[in-house]
Symmetry: C2
């Protein structure tokens, strides 16, 4: 019997609720697929700050590194918002990504027929949207040095950051993107600001160089401002998008909101070797935390990504995806997606319904 070690990082806000549902889903799937999961639950983010004084305890990182895959809930909350940088929950997440070396963040944005009316886009624009943002996750302005505060020539206080990419960083994310596009509809759009930024010029040059290795993938380039527009004008034109850390942060959130169901969207962060990090793209939603109102489906679908990308358990992944679709078909909706005629359920009951469908 195959056995996998999973690190659970419930984190803050609604994190623990949605991770608890996802764990039940993992367990049932395991028993049906004849596999086994062992869990270690570790603190990260605000929870870790409260417990240990740092947002990513060393032990959390080392347990995570030794496991086969990591499931994260969400991090952050008002309570820690005013903290200094090194004591912010977000810093723990960034340290986790860096520590795990998960440089490629895959964020699908798919409009499900069942949820199309939740999109603020017109039906004919939203229908059929199915894109994947491949975001560089451990480089660029998030990690670039020098960074900090200082003074300029005139003695004014300044705050500064460095956007920097090395060829090897661009090449490895480009490769993930080309491979992803090849398994999808064979279209890759690289997004940059090469008309202004040197970091983007190098990005465009290296991505273009790699294209010859992927003659079956159609590569295009788009400036980030135009991409932000095109996602709204005609999102169906996109298949796979590859972009840097900060542009990916912005565009993947924009793309996810197009679907109208950000409570549904999973993500996978993977590296060259070592375990991947799987998490819903929504935040910790402190305003509804602990009220059994959260939508657990993004985390459940993150578990499906974990099985597919992290453990190559495709059948188990498919089982979960189908169960989610079936649950939606039956009309069950958490508050974020509720509309008349549907059945309003809380986080736990949504979990139970998914279990029934598995």
């Amino acid at each position: 019997k195959k056995s996998y070690n999973i690190t659970l990082l419930p984190g803050d806000g609604i994190g623990p609720e949605v991770v608890s549902v996802a764990k039940q889903v993992l367990n049932l799937t395991a028993s049906l697929e004849g596999i086994e999961f062992k869990y270690q639950e570790m603190p990260v983010g605000g929870a870790a700050l409260d417990l240990t004084g740092v947002p990513l305890p060393e032990e959390t990182l080392s347990v995570a590194k030794q496991s086969d895959a990591i499931l994260l809930g969400a991090i952050g909350g008002y309570k820690w918002d005013a903290n200094e940088k090194h004591l912010k929950p977000e810093t723990g997440l960034l340290q986790l990504r860096e520590g795990l070396g998960v440089f490629a963040n895959l964020r699908p944005a798919t409009v499900l027929p069942q949820l199309i009316d939740s999109s603020t886009l017109k039906r004919e624009v939203a229908q059929g949207v199915d894109l994947m943002v491949v975001r560089e996750l451990t480089g660029g302005i998030y990690f670039g040095k020098p960074r900090g505060f200082g003074k300029n020539e005139n003695g004014d206080e300044i705050g500064f950051n460095t956007e920097v990419y090395a060829t090897y960083e661009i090449d490895r994310i480009a490769r993930v993107a080309f491979e992803t596009a090849r398994k999808r509809r064979g279209k890759l759009c690289s997004v940059d600001k090469a008309n202004v930024l040197e970091a983007s010029m190098l990005w465009r040059k290296r991505v273009t160089m790699m294209a010859s290795e992927y003659p079956d993938v159609e590569l295009t380039h788009m400036y980030v401002d135009n991409a932000a527009m095109q996602l709204i004008r005609d999102p169906k034109q996109f298949d796979t998008i590859v972009t840097n850390n900060i542009f990916g942060d912005i565009l993947s959130d924009e793309a996810s909101m197009l679907t109208g169901s950000i409570g549904m969207l999973p993500s996978a962060s993977i590296g060259d070797s070592g375990p991947g990090l799987y998490e819903p793209i929504h935040g910790s939603a402190p305003d509804i935390a602990g009220q059994d109102k959260a939508n657990p489906l993004a985390t459940v679908l993150s578990v499906a990504m974990l099985l597919k990308y992290g453990l190559q358990e495709e059948a188990a992944a498919k089982r979960i995806e189908n169960a989610v679709l079936e649950t939606l078909d039956k009309g069950f909706r958490t508050g974020d997606l509720f509309s008349t005629g549907m059945k309003l359920v809380g986080c736990k009951e949504m979990g139970e319904q998914v279990l029934k469908s598995i």
Copy 2:
């Protein structure tokens, strides 16, 4: 009789066509309002590259600086896309902004009732959207140093840029934003990435400090990724948005596309003293250049902003705005906004129709 010197910078692509319409509109308005305009037309962008070898000739900048206001068409085109950085049309535009010191870029995004169906957003979401993005225009990663190409410790090629803001740069753009919000609905949302970037932390701190001077303005803060989502989820929540150069580039284009009529949207770039730069937010559209297909209304409305913000000629500005609305009410549409039942016109005829309505 009041007389103003206007620098016309037609630029590239559809630039000359739309500026020519705008000039006619200025002339007729002048005669009706009893004012006078004198023009100097100068090259910039690709046009300047072809003529003089540089994208912003010194003479263009000095003529512009000595005038009362500057009207720009658009710059850029495939022809110069592969040029080195210092020979890109875009570089000419950046040098112009820097040379004029126009640090505040005002970009309204308004959904006109006449054009609401052009938006890809559902009618109830688009209806009533009326927001203003105040984008910092002469700082941040666009201009920050050091920048360029180099090698890292391992000998890998790198491309790098610096995102940097000094307190005085933040303060002056914040002041424009608070003043703008005060004249609008009194709501200001400052957008940053203060959970990750030091440059944003300083931004948030300084904007917050200024709030006490504007007790009548309600200040909120939002992370840029969330702002990219909220613009789609519920754009009506925004009144005035203030943000840095690169986030403003992305978010203002996103906001403009929400309206579905990017061919309609003007912008104003202003400094502490000296003439402002007025331009449509659309690009040079090389694919339709010279075919009399361009929508001149964004440039016509930029002329209205020029009169209002640059020359304090409010009555003349209002006259032009009303003429544009009347022309739309009569059903005239260029190709970008055409739908059945409307009257399809080219760039020139659209201009003539506006002249009739003035």
